[in-house]
Subunit: 447 residues, 2 copies
Amino acid sequence: MQSWISQGRLIKAPENFIGPAGVRAVFAEAKRGRRDFIRGAFAAALAGGAATQAAAQGEGDPAILKLPAHSTGLGQPVVTDGYGRPSKYEGNVQRRPSPGLTQTSQASVSFAPLQSLFGIVTPSGLHFERHHQGWWDIDPAQHRFMVNGMVKTPKVFTMDEVMRLPSVSRFCFIECGANTGMEWGNVAVPTVQYSHGMLSCSEFTGVPLITLLEMAGADLKGGKFVLAEGADGSSMTRTIPMSLVTSGEVLVAYGQNGEMLRPENGYPLRLVVPGVQGVSWVKYLRRVEVGDQPWGAKDEAVHYIDLMPDGTHRQYTSIQECKSVITTPSGGQVLLEKGFYNINGLAWSGRGKIKKVDVSVDGGRNWRAARLETPVLDKCLTRFSLDWVWDGKPAIVQSRATDDTGHVQPSSRQLREVRGTRSIYHNNAVQSWLVQENGEVKNVQLS
Amino acid sequence: MQSWISQGRLIKAPENFIGPAGVRAVFAEAKRGRRDFIRGAFAAALAGGAATQAAAQGEGDPAILKLPAHSTGLGQPVVTDGYGRPSKYEGNVQRRPSPGLTQTSQASVSFAPLQSLFGIVTPSGLHFERHHQGWWDIDPAQHRFMVNGMVKTPKVFTMDEVMRLPSVSRFCFIECGANTGMEWGNVAVPTVQYSHGMLSCSEFTGVPLITLLEMAGADLKGGKFVLAEGADGSSMTRTIPMSLVTSGEVLVAYGQNGEMLRPENGYPLRLVVPGVQGVSWVKYLRRVEVGDQPWGAKDEAVHYIDLMPDGTHRQYTSIQECKSVITTPSGGQVLLEKGFYNINGLAWSGRGKIKKVDVSVDGGRNWRAARLETPVLDKCLTRFSLDWVWDGKPAIVQSRATDDTGHVQPSSRQLREVRGTRSIYHNNAVQSWLVQENGEVKNVQLS
């Protein structure tokens, strides 16, 4: 019998289902009386279904047929909570801030626990946060959304007016432009939560921005750009090319994963700009202005720009390029023994669909094609996986994604040859995790 | 300007963003000073972005440029809650029990608020509940899963052992076989939450049951059925045809919408049987036994059977047939005025994908094809929508789904001709909502 740290739990034993000590106990039990255990379980099954679990929980001793409380008692009633919560055993699965990363906790970040997630949907309660002046719970009855600038008739909408219009729902990822930013400076942060956790994926619902512009009679020829403005104190403003708007992709969204947006994610209204870095998905959206040139606002002139090796800055590099990361095994996790593991992780591209993901377990010398979980959607996370038998020796695991435009995720070296090492933003390099002989996994940077 | 009750809010005014009185105020404001308002907003925009919202919230009077608190103050910090919650303004969006429907609240049901949901994902906190002896939060370190019966080597798995195996994630719906059961008896329950709310849709993650059976050396030729058994006090047992298992569709699942299952939905392990009624998705799954005939257990001999007009019972009618329902407008909602509405709702089939949905606004005399939201997935909810201009006269709105096997959702009359009126289960008839002249929507049964 093989045991393993639970998928995505961090290294500390109390946070595993069965910690290292428990694993040793289960091993000992298996050597001692696995056959007796099975025999006992069978006897229990014959005696009546309810006894089976008792046998299972008697852990090897068929004489112990004490039924667990949940097999004999009356459980909790329906609607203990009209809006349910996770199990008390899942308390470790949290979004987390990075202590010391920012000077205030209102202009700050929390990271999604990617190591603990399955599939592609990020539960809204674990969605990463990025606030520029803290978050608010804005009264939707008071909130207004304005369209102005190069339009025939400026319009102001209530939430009800927005929500009665034809809407679109789509699954897409959102990634902060600064995600994986620490790796530029060779700071190998310990876990995938901190290295890649400014990434989430939801089903968003909203009205195509083009619909609202058309209602205002926007000049779609002369108007080459729109400015999106948030209602919070940071006055976040971002320029969006009109071509993204006329394609119908940009949404004025109110829904996320089936319900209204969460306050931390812009309730009651945010912009959704599939494939583009998160800062452009303006939260608490109150205004869109149509114009004929980029605005060069603070958050596009001073922040969210790429410092290049020659000292110049790249500006308006908004699209999140093809990228992937292995989430299991990843930094901070531990493999408790040799044997079979299901390597898996996430791949995404701001330019389209993921076409393939290759995985290496030897630091990039050999690559094997991973399985892609369906559906593979445009500008959405795609879960990949690959069978792996770990022989107990050190191994460097990596994933490399290719999107349907042919873009191949670069190695750190390739990326640095072009971009240098002084950027903060738009790091889409291959991530390397070192599985050490003791099973502990750590973040390593290959030179 | 047109205003409308918020999509999916129930009829009571405090639960709308802007209630009927608010709508009148907004109308008055619009007549009084819409141009001044826009002018004021423009001036504010020129004066600086932050003032725009103030103009919007000054509601028509450009002299009132009082900025709302959220545009001037410092908001809440990150990770106010490591696991976030919805806005305080969304307190009305809850799953709800039906008072008096069951004799105890442990053997009972809560209904998902379909009228308030968007897209296809059901937030896990709003997933419907159906318990047979209450719900439990079972310690995953203690939980075991056994495979026995017609197998070479009976196996007992820990959660860690299950979770290290290759896994699959897929979106699919789950519907209780008794959903819409009250309609058989001409009881027109008031809202879609109560008529169709034993329906939810999630991204489930787990190990194909066939993998676990193969590990135990199951007899896949002689073994025509499996029995799934839950660990809670109800000892729920259900027979599943082996053909569903060998197709790879049946999962031993631990993940739901990216995180671990919720306690009310079977934490830490439940069976996922896409397309099949919810009772077979055994929660707190502790055992699967391979056998050569159906078990005829209590919950398949006495419950979840269909009483036919000739007095016989249909048994093992597990597949949830093609069905749809309009969620907006639906019973209990109110249209506050004439004009444009985005009729929308959900369609699903336990046999495959939704091929089309037709919508009628005149009680079934004329039908128009609705838009289907993508992706359209196998045995999954599909959101449909259709533009509609309401002329203020009584209207009966209906939806009728067709799946890719060609099955067309029947009218109540058609269904009753075959099935009579004394069933509880498997009612997939077309649902009719009457929009009355005063805008109030109610559940009606067409003879």
